[in-house]
């Protein structure tokens, strides 16, 4: 995996799937907004993969960075300027800086402390956004952002075709970047840190700075995902910080397989499609079915629930322990 040189098959498959995805909003215009949202949460799941799959940090508050990106991009569009790409950059930058600052909290301490701190962080931001309602709109959500045309030419249409293409393009580029990084010598040291931090330090890898890097990188991409959701839907609500959102993304990543660059994306697609189907039947009790699914995965093991047919995916998800 780390030393493989021949990747043409993988490129072909990924290229084909993305070509289909890019075609969807134009072939099925009624589904364009769904595509935009799915691409955004797929990016969110990819960002969690860096934190959980590549750094081994169990987080129950990854929504913190998603939410910060969403509010930063939303406020930027509303108060400063409407250009989407600049707003995206702002969302990424703010989330990355916060991730870097917060990496201090997750470098030390046990899994329990990390779960608690990440959760507390997202709740803290929820409180902040709720109380400063003069700026954020509070419980009513942030409204009234008008997005400018993409690249100065393509207006965001209400049907969602341009937003969907935009979100897919950002997801595609992020995927390339992550893939690039995790397969580099730096990425190899990340795997080493995840597998065995004690040994990683004993071969000269600076464990703390690697964890901080993975965490901040994950935060930056989560910020990008949040910014995309804000820009493509034109709305940010307090829900972006909720524990449900953190749990959703955890489930997506686990469905697709953590520690594998495509895991988050595949999981997000599966999750969103499933959500559409189940929510169509019993809209209120989606939480129950999601809970049952999480419980089953935890109880029976990820391999048995998600891939009973074969272990075709090479890096075992068991690596994340």
């Amino acid at each position: 995996m780390l030393l493989a040189t021949d990747r043409w098959r993988e490129r072909l498959i990924v290229g084909f799937l993305f070509a289909v995805a890019f075609g969807l909003p134009w072939l099925m215009p009624s589904r364009a907004l769904f595509v935009a949202e799915t691409a955004s949460v797929a990016l969110f799941a990819l960002s969690l993969d860096l934190v959980l799959g590549y750094a081994g940090i169990v987080s129950l508050g990854h929504a913190a960075f998603f939410g910060v990106g969403a509010y930063a991009a939303g406020l930027f569009a509303k108060l400063v300027m409407p250009d989407p790409l600049t707003g995206l950059a702002v969302g990424i930058a703010v989330a990355a800086l916060m991730g870097l600052a917060c990496s201090l909290t997750i470098l030390r301490g046990s899994d329990l402390t990390r779960i608690m701190v990440t959760l507390a962080l997202s709740l803290l931001l929820y409180e902040l956004a709720n109380r400063f309602d003069a700026i954020t709109g509070g419980a009513d959500g942030l409204q009234g952002m008008a997005m400018g045309p993409l690249l100065g030419r393509f207006e965001f249409d209400l049907q969602g075709q341009v937003p969907a293409t935009y979100a897919l393009a950002v997801l595609f580029l992020a995927l390339l970047l992550v893939q690039w990084v995790v397969r580099s010598p730096l990425g190899a040291t990340l795997l080493a840190v995840r597998d065995n931090p004690l040994r990683a330090a004993a071969v000269g890898i600076p464990v703390a700075s690697r964890l901080a890097f993975a965490y901040a990188f994950g935060a930056a991409l989560a910020g990008a995902a949040g910014a995309l959701v804000a820009q493509t839907s034109g709305f940010v609500s307090l829900e972006v910080f909720s524990i449900e959102r953190s749990a959703d993304v955890l489930l997506m990543l686990v469905i697709g397989g953590a520690g594998w660059v495509y895991g988050g994306v595949l999981g997000a697609v599966a999750f969103k499609v499933l959500n559409e189907l189940v929510a169509g039947i019993t809209p209120q009790y989606w939480t129950f079915w999601m809970g049952l699914f999480l419980l089953a995965i935890g109880l029976l093991g990820r391999e048995r629930v998600l891939r009973p047919w074969a272990l075709w995916q090479r890096p075992s998800t068991k690596a994340v322990r």
Binding site: N196, A201, A202, V203
Partner: protein, 266 residues
């Protein structure tokens, strides 16, 4: 990065020790685990550290490598004070260890493991582009280590699927991939089945002569066959030091080992 610290030339005939501790101390609450240990490892040494269970041998290794913070005293590598240096910086200065219980990268293969460490060693660890697969010299060195440690046949097997003896070999290969000048071997043959033992002993004997080695071991056959100098640790402090023959004849050492019933001195 090679060694930053050039050894001090004191102009004396006796070469300065590569690794030295000064009245090293470690307390856990009220318990003194390491009590005023002053140790000196000469260049190219084959130095063994022995002692009964609970003598504080592994604690000492953890102090030397920086896994545990010291309570008092100092550690010098090439006469530079490294007492407060973090673990990975000590490795960069050439001090490397192995673990009593193999610490491997579970999801990687031996070849990936060694390639990543050689890459890190050659300063590629922060490079976020390209692939290790394209670094011919890194791959070459990794394959060379695989040969040397008889791991070529299992080079692409995930390390959590390896046989115990192979895991021990990889443990030592990992340390050597770090290009150590000082190597701390923490019980390299502990728990290795008899059939696989010989393989490890041979690779130990073949370690480069210029590498200074501190061997922590229970196995007296290995200790007396391998080392040219022995330090005996009891209850966290140094009981005796000297050449193997002198140690074997020391009545205090005999008392400790006969008392604990683990002695098979030659």
């Amino acid at each position: 990065m090679g060694s930053l610290a050039a050894p001090f030339d004191k102009g004396s005939a006796v070469s300065a020790p590569v690794l030295r501790t000064e009245r090293l101390e470690k307390r856990f609450g009220g318990i003194v685990a390491t009590d005023s240990v002053s140790l000196s490892i000469a260049p190219g040494a084959r130095h063994a550290l022995i002692g009964p269970n609970g003598a504080g041998k592994t604690t000492l290794v953890n102090l030397l490598t920086g896994v545990l913070p010291v309570s008092a005293g100092a550690v010098y590598l090439d006469e530079v004070d490294i007492t407060r240096l973090p673990v990975h910086r000590r490795v960069a200065r050439g001090m490397v260890r192995t673990f009593q219980i193999s610490q491997l990268f579970r999801s990687l293969s031996p070849r990936e493991t060694l390639a990543l460490i050689v890459g890190q060693q050659r300063g590629l660890g922060r490079r976020w582009w390209g692939s290790l697969a394209r670094e011919a010299s890194v791959i070459e060195r990794a394959d060379q280590l695989l040969e040397q440690f008889r791991l070529a046949s299992v080079r692409d097997v995930r390390t959590d699927q390896l046989a115990y003896g192979k895991r021990r070999l990889l443990e030592i290969a990992i340390a050597l991939a770090c290009e150590p000048r000082v190597l701390l071997l923490d019980e390299p043959v502990a728990g290795v089945p008899a059939g696989e033992r010989e393989e490890i002993l041979q690779t130990l004997a073949a370690l480069p002569a210029q590498v200074s080695i501190l061997l922590i071991e229970h196995d007296m056959e290995l200790v007396f066959g391998f080392s040219r100098f022995i330090t005996v640790l009891v209850n966290g402090s140094v009981l005796a030091e000297g050449e193997p023959a002198a140690i074997a004849a020391d009545p205090r050492v005999k008392a400790v080992y006969l008392g604990s019933g683990a002695g098979h001195t030659p």
